[in-house]
């Protein structure tokens, strides 16, 4: 350990290829004890493969996986002290809920009394008491999901792995269980690795968010850092809903100093980009940073409203930026702000909320 700190789990230089297709390459990931790491990315980015490799269900083509100070790369899943919640839950259909919960403990020859105690504890935490003698086929989707979690927590493993555990639930339930999972993590004190394609889950659950793109880690860090300081246009577009507005612009230097022109609109340049030379840029502006012009957010253009989505607590206004070749743009306004189709809204943005990307590489320009 070069740094001297022992992580609960560490992935080093991992590479995974199926036949000729490279699924993961050069993945390095360290998860300290007690951390909640979320792997997020579009489908097919390799996030599930990474999780399954950590679980030991897939073996890497090269690289290693460490748990504590042990290299577990060659160990089968059962020797890794992990528990996993599957997307499909994978409940044993021939066993009752109780037996499902106890299965892993029985395999490890845990004494009966302890099994009973742990099952009772888990079922109390998850509210499964009334369901213990049912078979999986007699449960609802939400109940099955809770059993699947229960099966993980009775084991008290060093590490929990979740593979899109909420994707089969309806929206309301999903929000509820999301909170439960985070609470559970804090209560159990284990280390969690969680895979999702849902950016809300990713943002709300993670201590560390790890965004994968085509088998490589695009960016890793606290969720807000990824949100506010994306390393690439890809990251910026992936996180946030509605999606970040990306407009082609020019970084130019005039007498008034550097500024950005988007068509006929002009935007001042944040402090951190002042060293850049004049060039074409992609300007990233998050909808909720675009507001009707004010003192803090000086106007940079006019939005012609084409339609709007009033969500009750806020309103997303879609329109085109006047004088910028009819660039489509989305902004967020308070719900008490009345808008109508055809309105022209003067919009502004606080300079520090502007992010710039290289149009060719898509990388952020502030590094």
């Amino acid at each position: 350990m070069p740094s001297g700190t022992v992580h609960c789990c560490e992935v080093r230089n991992l590479e995974k290829a199926f036949d000729q297709t490279v699924v993961l390459s050069n993945v390095n990931l360290a998860m300290p004890s007690g951390s909640f790491t979320v792997l997020v990315g579009a489908s097919g980015c390799g996030k599930s493969t990474l999780l399954r490799t950590v679980a030991g269900l897939e073996s890497p083509t090269s690289g290693s996986i460490w748990m504590g100070d042990r290299d577990v790369t060659a160990l089968p899943p059962k020797d890794r002290d992990i528990a996993m919640v599957f997307q499909s839950y994978a409940l044993y259909p021939h066993l009752s809920v109780r037996e499902n919960l106890a299965f892993g403990l029985k395999l490890r020859r845990t004494p009966e009394t302890e099994i009973a105690g742990r099952v009772a504890e888990a079922s109390a935490i998850l509210g499964l008491d009334a369901l213990l003698d049912r078979l999986p086929k007699q449960l609802s989707g939400g109940q099955r999901q809770r059993v699947a979690m229960g099966r993980a927590i009775v084991r008290r493993p060093r590490m929990f792995l979740f593979d899109e555990p909420l994707s089969n639930l309806d929206a309301a339930l999903r929000a509820e269980v999301r909170v439960d999972i985070r609470k559970l993590h804090d209560r159990m004190g284990g280390t969690t690795l969680y895979v999702t394609h849902d950016q809300v889950e990713a943002m709300t659950l993670a201590d560390t968010l790890c965004l994968l793109r085509a088998g490589q880690i695009e960016q890793m860090g606290p969720p807000l850092e990824l949100f506010d300081r994306p390393v690439s246009r890809y990251v910026a577009e992936f996180l946030g809903s509605p999606k970040i507005n990306c407009l082609d612009g020019q970084l130019v230097y005039t007498n008034a100093g550097p500024h950005i022109t988007i068509g006929s609109s002009t935007l001042s340049v944040p402090e951190r980009y002042r060293a850049l030379s004049p060039q074409s840029v992609v300007v990233g502006l998050r909808p909720h940073h675009l507001t009707p012009a004010s003192a803090e957010a000086p106007q940079f253009g006019t939005l012609l409203v084409t339609f709007y989505e009033a969500l009750g607590f806020e309103t997303y206004v879609h329109g085109t930026l006047q004088g910028a070749g009819d660039k489509a743009l989305v902004i967020r306004v308070d719900s008490n702000h009345r808008v109508a189709r055809g309105d022209a809204i003067a919009i502004g943005v606080r300079p520090e909320h502007t992010v710039l990307f290289d149009p060719k590489s898509g990388r952020a320009l502030d590094t």
Binding site: R52, A55, G56, L57, P76, P77, K78, I82, A83, M84, F86, Q87, S88, Y89, A90, L91, Y92, P93, H94, F103, G104, L107, R108, L135, P136, K137, Q138, L139, G141, R144, R151, R155, L161, N168
Partner: protein, 288 residues
């Protein structure tokens, strides 16, 4: 209300049609057996009247007495042979499952050198008619010291039943979600434990169908049994039954009676086991 009533009426008509079709099928299935029953229960064989709906003119149980050896004081021997049949068939069912299930599992889930060759080889064995293979089989079993032992019969039957059993189980295992085994392995099972404690129980209906098939193939076989066994006490029932057929004449009454006796245990087993054979157990395991 009126609407509900109409719906009910439609459902009743549908149910009626279904039952009519099933009763038709049952008649088709039972009609030739009625002949066998008539011959078995007739004192004077099958007359030439009543050919459309065969029915015994003079009832008798004498054919059953002959078939079961009761008339010659050999019912103990018959019982012994019944036990042989049950033992051999049940052992065949168990042994072929025990051998076929792991192989089918490996073929369904694992990659290995020779898998494709093995699979097509297995299929090829079924394509070769057994016209000329009885004598070599006898030779092999005698080399293995399995002649004249019921164990030899069980081994031969199981091997013959294996290809179908493996194909059938392979298809069943492939229908089971892989996640179940992965969950078990994460839960602390080895691959083999996951196979035994999760895959096998979940595949119960397929195992039961396969076992029934192996049981049936052993239950009705007589050429091999007659060839390999050299004591009457070691014969199985089909061998005993087949003795009623001679070169120029056959004792149809006892033969039919014996056939009925032979088929009763099979039907009983099926009746008792059908829930196992046909219950859907994968339901609810994974959310589809």
């Amino acid at each position: 209300m009126a609407n509900g009533g109409r719906l009910n009426a439609r459902q009743n008509v549908k149910a009626l049609v279904v039952h009519a079709l099933l009763i038709g099928a049952v008649i088709y299935a039972l009609y030739p057996v009625l002949w066998v029953l008539t011959v078995a229960f007739s004192r004077d064989g099958l007359g030439t009247d009543g050919f459309v709906l065969p029915w015994p003119r003079h009832w008798t149980f004498a054919n059953f007495a002959i078939a079961t050896g009761a008339s010659t004081g050999k019912s103990a021997l018959f019982f012994r042979q019944l036990v042989n049949s049950l033992t051999v068939s049940a052992s065949t069912a168990l042994l072929s499952i025990a051998i076929a299930a792991p192989a089918a599992y490996a073929l369904a889930r694992m990659q290995f050198v020779g898998k494709r060759t093995g699979l097509s080889g297995l299929m090829l064995t079924q394509m070769f008619p057994t016209v000329a293979s009885a004598v070599p089989l006898y030779f092999i079993l005698s080399q293995l010291h399995l002649l004249d032992r019921r164990a030899g019969l069980v081994v031969a039957y199981s091997a013959t039943a294996l290809p179908f059993a493996i194909f059938q189980l392979k298809a069943a295992f492939e229908a089971i979600p892989v996640e179940l085994e992965e969950a078990a392995m994460v839960d602390g099972a080895t691959r083999f434990e996951a196979f035994v404690r999760v895959v096998l129980p979940v595949a119960r209906p397929a195992l039961a169908v396969t076992a029934l098939f192996a049981f049936m193939s052993a239950w009705n076989e007589f050429v091999l049994a007659a060839t390999l066994m050299s004591r009457e006490e070691a014969f199985t029932l089909p061998v005993v039954l087949q003795r009623f057929v001679g070169e120029h004449s056959a004792a149809w009454g006892p033969f039919a009676a014996g056939s009925i006796v032979v088929s009763i245990p099979v039907m009983a087993i099926f009746y008792i086991a059908q829930k196992q054979l046909l219950s859907g157990l994968t339901a609810g395991s994974v959310k589809g």
